[in-house]
């Protein structure tokens, strides 16, 4: 069941200069750390001249939709979905 969250969160990133990829691999939310195991999709949206990176990710049992504001580099957890 999908739930809208819309809360700021902390995220750890993995970066590879050779493949030019930057991906989230850890999420800290409500005092808990979630190890991201699957990046389902990475897409972008523009709000005027501001670019937002949206990552649809999963830790194997929970789905998270994360957004990074490329202007402020702040992360927000938009949505959570559990397998039930």
């Amino acid at each position: 069941m999908s739930e809208t969250i819309n809360e700021p969160v902390s995220v750890t990133l993995w970066s590879n200069h050779k493949t030019r990829k930057v991906l989230p691999y850890g999420l800290y939310w409500h005092g808990r750390r979630y190890q991201i195991t699957t990046i389902g999709l990475h897409h972008t949206v523009w709000e005027g001249k501001r670019l937002f990176h949206i990552f649809s990710v999963s830790d194997g049992s929970t789905f998270f939709k994360l957004v990074m504001n490329s202007e402020t580099l702040a992360w927000t957890l938009l949505e959570v979905d559990t397998a039930n």
Binding site: N6, G40, L41, T44, V45, W46, G48, S56, F63
Partner: protein, 420 residues
């Protein structure tokens, strides 16, 4: 080669959210019971859920059906990624819709060391590796675009079918007339009335017989399509669209709650549609001399009118004023669908500078508002008539094309998610 993403919207949602994989998922225009299903995942299709059904019908078949609202930016990114991938084989690609592309591989260097089938298999493998492991495509290979499209529809999901002169009779003998794209009830009845009952008979009929069956030159076009020639009537050119042939701009909206034509809440939706349309028109450097508006009422009757002006329409106020006065002539009935469009386009560089300073000021204000929205996002500034809008016009993917579609604004998306 015709490349078709299988169950596009639903597959992309399953790609994004791995927890949805293997489950019946549909993407519907609205997630409520009467929302129309736009795409069903392969699991949903296996249960008998089809595009065009209502959500309620889908849930009757599969009570645990996952119903999602459309998320156009996701589908556009997959479309762009697929286009980028296909462009590594040829520059001659026609984007037919959000989930369909046609490649003209004639004379492509890749064919020097690979067959068409090898290229198709490589494309499928690369899509899994570079775009998403859950995304599959059906590829159809044929001498022309029409037969390639037919071939891509013969094996789903993840199909690869080639139609050649050698196997066309065998392929057609396993099909029915309505398997052909463009042959549904009406055309099928026309063919049957002319004694053409099977795809093979359709293929073997002469151009004269088909012209007689369709009672127009369309019959000749069908003959060309079925015999591997490009008829030029159904598809866009392979060459990149420069935008010079743009004929009109339009927006439409299906109302969640029907409003009568004299209801100010409908005028607010009209204002939003004209703003979206005007922004796209101006961004592409056009002005319009014609406007049109159409409505579908709750009893499924239609009303439509259009008007050509002697002056150029450029500002949002120009469009809103013209369309609202047209709407006042519509029957006062509850509107279910509202559509606006503008036509008779001219380049804005050809626009006459007005002798009246107020008109020039209005255009300058519009340009300034556009610049603010370009910088800070759509609808950060809007006319007072749109304050307290109840129904918001959502971003949608149009059928049959992906050009001229702006990226959805993030705020709009967040608001939508909060509503749903």
């Amino acid at each position: 080669m015709h490349v078709d993403i299988n169950s596009c919207f639903a597959t992309v949602e399953q790609q994004a959210n791995p927890l949805l994989r293997g489950k019946p998922v549909v993407v519907a225009a609205y997630v409520k019971d009467y929302g129309c299903i736009l795409a069903a995942s392969r699991e949903a299709k296996k249960l008998g859920i089809k595009t065009g059904m209502r959500v309620k019908e889908g849930k009757m078949i599969a009570p645990r059906l996952v119903v999602l609202p459309p998320d156009p930016p996701k589908y556009r990114i997959v479309n762009r990624q697929l286009l980028g991938l296909l462009q590594s084989y040829t520059a001659h690609i026609s984007v037919e819709s959000i989930d369909e592309m046609v490649m003209n591989l004639k004379d492509t260097p890749a064919l020097h060391h690979q067959s068409m089938e090898d290229i198709a298999r490589e494309i499928k493998m690369r899509i899994r590796a570079e775009i998403g492991e859950w995304i599959t495509v059906s590829c159809g290979i044929a001498p022309n675009r029409y037969l390639a499209k037919v071939a891509s529809g013969l094996q789903k999901p993840d199909g690869l079918v080639t139609i050649t002169r050698e196997n066309i009779v065998d392929t057609f003998s396993r099909m029915t007339l309505t398997d052909f794209c463009g042959i549904k009830e009406g055309n099928s009845n026309r063919l049957k009335a002319a004694g053409i009952l099977t795809p093979l008979a359709f293929y073997r009929a002469s151009a004269t017989d088909l012209k007689r069956a369709f009672r127009s030159v369309t019959g000749y076009h069908w003959w060309l399509r079925l015999h591997g020639y490009e008829d030029g009537s159904m598809y866009k050119e392979f060459e990149k669209d420069t935008g010079e042939d743009q004929k009109s701009f339009g927006q439409s909206y299906v109302l969640g709650t029907a409003r009568t034509t004299h209801d100010p809440r409908l005028w607010q939706i009209l204002a939003q549609l004209t703003m979206k349309m005007g922004r796209r028109l101006r961004a592409d450097g056009f002005v319009a001399y014609g406007v049109g508006i159409s409505t579908m009422f709750t009893d499924h009757t239609h009303w439509h009118t259009q008007e050509k002006k002697s002056f150029a329409l450029f500002t949002d106020l120009d469009f809103y004023t013209a369309m609202r006065s047209m709407l006042m002539h519509a029957p006062e009935q509850p509107v279910k669908l509202l559509a606006v469009y503008c036509y008779a386009l001219h380049r804005d560089t050809e626009m006459q500078v007005s002798l009246f300073p107020e008109e020039n000021r209005g255009r300058d204000i519009t340009r300034a508002i556009d610049a603010i929205q370009d910088r800070f996002g759509d609808f950060v500034i809007y006319p007072a008539r749109m304050v307290n809008m109840e129904q918001k016009v959502l971003d949608r993917i149009s059928f049959g094309g992906v050009q001229g579609l702006p990226d959805v604004s993030f705020t709009e998306q967040v608001k939508r998610e909060m509503v749903t």
